[in-house]
Subunit: 437 residues, 2 copies
């Protein structure tokens, strides 16, 4: 039986998952593929380290170079993480004419151009299902199932850590610090959760999705990115009274105007109020989901586990199998790589239009609401609903919440800047965008 030789770089959680899935499903994979997938080498930093999966030491090497020079390895699986070593390894593998499977979103978000260009040149494949939303087959769906459709919008819950925290805040009324500590205790959040809670991780994933969906070429710093740190339990309570819940959304959508052949898109990651009865509102805990809206299909939602040894490992193995099918049938490059030149341009963040939830902290004095309303009106922002919390003592700051109709981000920011300078405003206004998903 034909053998497909695999070299794996990195033997952490996902690497262990990959090896254990390849091993436990070897017979089924052989039967379906008509070939055997054989792990030839595993490159690790510390060969002496205890591993969750048993592997003969003779497979281990400390030099990535050994994967590149081994002629019996056709597919290099990059599970090193980070962008420096991983980039060098992937470029070397592609340069040597090897196919690459990776689950490294940061690598592709920051260096995708270079990597896809070299892969194209060498006529080899790069597969990366595990890089976004773990085992949820969103990359495959965008590359293949939606090949005949025109996508209008992506709304993703693509960071399990923040979704776990926001679910706890919504369902238990917990403050963020407590929900975060609990997520850390359960292993859903890292000791340093910055990349997750800042929205940075979600922005990296959004770059990969927007590339496949729209032919965009974005770097994470191009994405309007706001994290979850300013959210208070009362925001969830207010949201509920208006029929919403709060999720950290990664949004990319077509927008009017622009001169690029594919038009304009907008790209942003931020907490958003979404209708409490929407499918995305039902995505709880550490789960992930991506909602695609396209001309022919309408809405399509893909939901599942976004992280973990087995879910991400399974996505990596599905990619290895897909690549192996290409090798067996002599059809590498069967599904084209993302386009080399951007098809769309990015709308300026200040031109984004959404509805807004605004929570003002104001002194309870006559005329405060009137002045805020007048300021909003002067910028062309119209109000859809107002609620104010009862207060006990005179002079104590009270919460005033306004939900606006659709407005332009720049107008909104200008109005808030003005309102935050009022002497009746006791703390910066909290703004949360509203998405009708």
């Amino acid at each position: 039986m034909r053998e497909i030789g695999i070299g794996i770089a990195g033997f952490g959680t996902v690497g262990g998952g990959v090896i254990s899935i390849l091993r436990s499903h070897a017979r089924e994979i052989e039967a379906r593929l008509g070939a055997r997938i054989v792990v030839r080498r595993v490159a690790v930093r510390d060969p002496a380290k205890e591993r969750m999966v048993d592997l003969d030491r003779s497979f281990l090497t400390t030099r990535y170079q050994d994967l590149i020079t081994d002629p019996s390895i056709q597919v290099v699986v990059e599970l090193v993480g980070g962008t420096t070593e991983a980039r060098a390894l992937v470029l070397a593998a592609l340069g040597a004419g090897k196919h690459v499977v990776t689950a490294n979103k940061a690598l592709l978000a920051f260096h995708g151009d270079e990597i896809f260009r070299l892969a194209q040149e060498k006529g080899v494949d790069v597969y990366y299902e595990g890089a976004v939303a773990g085992g949820v087959p969103v990359i495959r769906t965008l590359r293949e199932a939606l090949a005949s459709d025109r996508i209008q919008a992506i709304h993703g819950i693509v960071n399990g850590t923040t979704n776990y925290i926001l679910t706890s805040m919504a369902e238990k009324g917990e403050p963020l610090a407590k929900a975060l500590a609990e997520a850390q205790r359960l292993g859903y959040a890292e000791a340093d959760p910055t990349l997750d809670v800042s929205g940075g991780d979600a922005a990296q994933k959004l770059c990969l999705l927007a590339q496949l969906a729209f032919g965009a070429r974005l770097a994470p710093q191009d994405v309007l990115t706001e994290g979850i740190l300013g959210l208070l339990p009362e925001d969830f309570a207010w949201a509920k009274t208006f029929g919403y819940t709060i999720k950290l959304l990664a949004v990319a959508r077509r927008s009017d105007g622009g001169t690029a052949p594919g038009g304009l898109i907008e790209a942003r990651v931020h907490p958003a109020l979404i209708p409490a009865d929407s499918m995305l509102a039902g995505v709880r805990g550490a789960m992930n989901a991506v909602l695609l809206r396209s001309d022919a299909l309408g809405p399509t939602l893909l939901f599942g586990q976004g992280a973990g040894a087995m879910p991400t490992g399974s996505a990596v193995v599905a990619d290895i199998i897909d690549l192996s099918r290409n090798l067996v049938s002599g059809s590498p490059g069967r599904v084209p790589l993302p386009p080399a030149t951007p098809l769309v341009s990015l709308r300026s963040h200040s031109e984004i239009r959404t509805s807004y939830y605004l929570r003002f902290s104001v002194k309870d004095a006559p005329g405060v609401l009137a002045r805020i309303a007048a300021t909003l009106a002067s910028r062309g922002i119209s109000i859809s609903a107002v609620q104010q919390r009862e207060h006990d003592e005179e002079g104590v700051p009270v919460a005033l919440v306004i939900v606006t109709h659709e407005a332009r981000e720049a107008d909104l920011q200008a109005a808030i800047g003005e309102i935050d300078r009022f002497d009746t405003t006791s703390a910066p206004t909290r703004l949360i965008r509203i998405e009708a998903v």
Copy 2:
């Protein structure tokens, strides 16, 4: 540029969608595929009939045979419907070495064996994404993304007509007849809705899913099938008090025991109480969703529009593109067809174990509950919750609802048979299975 010749049989709703998508996305498809997809012939019953999509009459033929004999047609798209003509056409196309795309679930549920066998023999492909859940990429996900995983269970809402009706009943408290009439008025239900409301349509789709997920070979008549006709508004009200909603589910899952190499599965279509906060409970109106549970991925949910010209048309076009990629890269048969011999056997329906919702119609007399409880207990069925509705007049039948712990179907049916013969029972007991999805 290379051309892939397509012949389409059937020019109804979906056929119109396919032609319109191929036309409006021609440029993108060419760019991504590196080949042009060209519709050579369209076979129709009545060439004079008015069509939603404009097509030059010279493309039309009334003879399916013309698609088979045309050497410039490599892919035959079967959109005729039914099983007689469609079967003859598909077998003739495969026999002539042509690849087939179909959205015909009944054809594959009843004649899949014959069709896949011939395709295998001839080394050609059969693609059928549109046959289950319209544009939701569930077939592709089962064939490819989950190739490395072992699936444990499928829970599908795969019939939009019944889901529309059940959503109306749940949300508006409407009786079934009214919800059905409304569905007919809006085009979600046909004039003769039998195949949908009986569960027959969902059972056909379940056969296709179980084949891909488990290597089962089921005919629709093998599936335990119960429709929605006996459901009353009060069932939804009771379900709500217990924290559930009611959906028509198509269920296939691995079960203990059996001697087949892949073990036993159970396969059933019936209304089910499911937790009100589950993702499937959020699938409203005519939408479809399939929840897969597998060893590595855990739960994966795929959600979208299950029917309609554009969603199903889009699935058919995605299949045409996929097949065309195989042709361009010289790799037909790249993804194996379903296995020719069954890998699993089917558990007897009487051995199924679930929890049950039981609504008894009983006369309000002393000792009725005690007698029912004793009968259940005598069959080893234990009670998890009991509720009884207040009544106004003595002697009027009252509703008594019991939720059981997990029990064996045969025991449950025997107990109900006994209870329904009590002189205090005024109407047959309504049984609804409970699924913890």
